[in-house]
Amino acid sequence: MSPLNIKKGSTSHSAYDLRDPNAEVIETHTLAVVVDNESGVLARVIGLFSGRGYNIESLTVAETDHAAHMSRITVVTTGTPQVIEQIKAQLARMVPVHEVHDLTVEGPSVQRELALFKVAGKGEARIEALRLAEIFRAHVVDSTLESFVFEMTGTPEKIDSFAELMRPLGLREIARTGVAALSRGA
């Protein structure tokens, strides 16, 4: 018997500690990352998330300052407080990253997402879909005798609940942009 008290012939021992040392509460945070709009920058950010096992709930990116070639990436992520801190530190140390803002902790913010819904149906269901769309302030951007395409902007939660309501009424497809977010105030 070796001093580890592992019986000769045993197989159940890993060389590594397999338990997750960070098992705590999971939080959702919205991060705004200002980056140089150089080639590969998005792959770099996404690679960081996949390579280190972080979650991406939603991700949007577009150039926001054409003169300075800067883009803004908005990413919604989940993790324990320690993981969220790591994600921010890992993002901030990347060479093309200029700023990292955690909109979830830096005070109140507005979050919006745009979604398109294709709903097909006839009769009562079709009328009900249109009525609900009005309540949710969704616009009709395309219609045939058998279908609508609704456009809606709102929080991800609002879009989720509209989608739930549309499902029994003939929801065929959804396209969502992911979240764009800004802090409130000047």
Binding site: P3, L4, I6, K7, A15, G40, Q82, Q86, A89, R93
Partner: protein, 584 residues
């Protein structure tokens, strides 16, 4: 003065402007224009390697032993993919490198052209940053930027991928001073309030310990000097990770030896029992911490690191200080002196008494033999016979690496190059050549295992061609010793594929390369043979036949806390006596 030139010439010009003296590389179709420029000048020396992995490890050895940025040049496709292991190694050990790779011409990118690989894609996760330069006008500026990124903040490897048409095209060269100032400027000064908290804790601590790492070496010789002064003035004990050896001298009074999985008993128990841990430029690697939950449970922890993402990554600390080690130590030392040089004398005296008890265990004791060479004995003799010499040590990866860290003493930083974070077998031989190229007059020894050494042995050709008299000290146990040890301790003594079968005759191999080799298996012959190796004017392969079943102790099995260390007196029969397990 504006200067028009080809992209290939720009590469050479930018390297010269950056003070580069040596490039390690291997040619191929996609870098021929650059090789043509190298041919037509004499300022930069090109060292032709035998495999691109060798080029990167040589550049690492060069960088680590000089504090400069190492430079390598490889062709597209297979040249670049062969560089990947070296890049990852440099990333994990924070070694500053600039690697230039050739690429198929821009108009062929994406067509699966001959020797095309998505080099920036493949190397994105194993570089600090990389660039694909598609426009000759941007090439020189990108190279200057690359050097800045490689050496600033936490150093690391960067790669620039240069398509062949970009090398041929003409544009205007941007000199270093004219290059755009990068927004990438990591903070070097630590926050003074946090440094004040650090000093306050140091003034009252009863059981403090300095836990230092590769960051001290990377910060430069001044940081090591400050550290020594601080340790001497406070009388605090100090330990270091594998990567930080030499920043505090092994002969220093306060030195506890290396810590971690194969660290010294007194170092690990001091970490476990301290009430103040002062982490300077180390990163709480899992080889250091063991089981996180039980890591140094009663201490306040200070962490100085230039990389904010290292702080609170695995271990929560009480005083985080983001900054360069040298800058922070300077501020802390000044402040501590200004406040009256206070330490808790009574507490420290008790603490040292405790540490002396741990030291008295003499954890590195092994059972010597007059029949067979014990690897520890071989290293003790190597140490005794080379001590005080102008000496650099590299290693491969395995038991011999850990024994080298335990039994060799390092008095200065930048004298010890080893693959820490990645644990890359095959690192040591090429690294030793890189060191020797940087220090042609010094004694450079690669402490190797026979299995690791075979992984890049083709580089003996490079050593011969460039007259690098590197000494290959191979502790030949005919085993993948470290694997064998784990199989013995963790896998029921089932030795699955951990033999080194069909080994070459190393003496004949040396002759085949045109250098000298020796085989020694009798302990009595060891000293003379070592002296012969040192005196020989040229590369040397020392086949040191050692005990085949020796285990490396102390050992903290993965996932165990520091105080559940195995001491074991390294019985060679494959079974360790139960008193080997020391539970404190």
């Amino acid at each position: 003065m504006t200067r028009q030139m080809t992209g290939a010439r720009m590469v050479v010009q930018a390297l010269k402007d950056q003070g580069v003296e040596v490039v390690f590389g291997y040619p191929g179709g996609a870098v021929l224009p650059i090789y043509d420029e190298i041919f037509q000048q004499n300022d930069i020396r090109h060292v032709l390697v035998r495999h691109e992995q060798g080029a990167i490890h040589m550049a690492e050895g060069y960088a680590r032993s000089t504090g400069k940025v190492g430079v390598a040049l490889v062709t597209s496709g297979p040249g670049a993919t062969n560089a990947v292991t070296g890049l990852t190694d440099a990333l994990l050990d924070s070694i500053p490198l600039v690697v230039l790779s050739g690429q198929v011409p821009t108009f062929m990118i994406g067509t699966d052209g001959f020797q095309e690989a998505d080099t920036v894609g493949i190397t994105r996760p194993c570089t600090k940053h990389n660039w694909l330069v598609k426009d000759t006008a941007k090439l020189s500026e990108t190279i200057h930027q690359a050097f800045h990124v490689a050496r600033s903040g936490r150093p690391g490897p960067v790669l620039i991928d240069i398509p062949k048409d970009v090398q041929f095209a003409q544009s205007i060269y941007t000199p270093m001073e004219k290059a755009k100032v990068s927004h990438y400027q990591p903070v070097v000064k630590g926050d003074i309030d946090q440094i004040t908290r650090m000093v306050e804790l140091m003034e009252t601590a009863e059981r403090p310990v300095f836990y230092t790492g590769g960051g001290v070496v990377n910060s430069g010789p001044a940081a090591s000097q400050l550290l020594r002064e601080f340790v001497e003035a406070t009388g605090f004990p100090i330990t270091s990770t594998l990567m930080g050896l030499g920043s505090y001298p092994a002969s220093g009074k306060a030195w506890l030896g290396m810590l971690g999985m194969h660290g010294l008993y007194e170092a690990n128990l001091a970490m476990h029992g301290c009430d103040l841990m002062i982490n300077i430029g180390a990163r709480f690697d899992d080889r250091i911490t063991g089981r996180i939950k039980d890591f140094s449970p009663h201490s306040k922890k200070i962490h100085v690191d230039i990389d904010p993402s290292s702080i609170n990554k695995v271990i929560r600390v009480d005083v985080p200080i983001v900054g360069d080690v040298g800058h922070v130590l300077e501020d802390a030392l000044r402040l501590w002196k200004a406040r009256g040089r206070k330490v808790n004398k009574a507490g420290l005296a008790k603490w040292w008494k405790q540490i002396e008890e741990w030291r008295a265990v003499k954890c590195l004791t092994y059972k010597n033999s007059d029949k067979v060479i014990k690897p520890q004995y071989a290293l003790e003799r190597l140490e005794a016979l080379t001590k005080g010499m102008d000496r650099y040590i590299t290693t491969e990866v395995g038991q011999h690496q850990m024994w080298a860290a335990q039994f060799l003493g390092f008095e200065a930083p930048n004298r010890w190059m080893t693959s820490g974070g990645l644990g890359t077998m095959g690192y040591g031989l090429p690294a030793s050549i890189g060191v020797q190229i940087a220090h042609p007059e010094s004694l450079v020894i690669n402490v190797a295992g026979e299995a690791s050494w075979l992984m890049n042995m083709q580089e003996m050709g490079t050593a011969m061609q460039f007259r690098a008299p590197v000494k290959q000290f191979i502790l030949n146990n005919e085993r993948l010793g470290m694997v064998r040890q784990w199989q013995e301790l963790l896998h029921g003594e089932r030795y699955s594929s951990s033999w080194s079968e069909s080994l070459p005759d190393f003496v004949k191999l040396a002759e085949a390369f045109g250098c000298k080799g020796i085989q020694v298996s009798d302990p009595k012959d060891l000293d003379d043979a070592i002296m012969e190796m040192i005196r020989y004017d040229g590369p040397f392969i020392f086949d040191c036949r050692v005990e085949k079943h020796e285990n490396c102790f102390p050992m903290i099995p993965s996932g165990k806390p520091h105080n559940e260390m195995l001491l074991g007196d390294a019985d060679t029969q494959g079974v360790i006596g139960s008193k080997g397990a020391v539970l404190v």
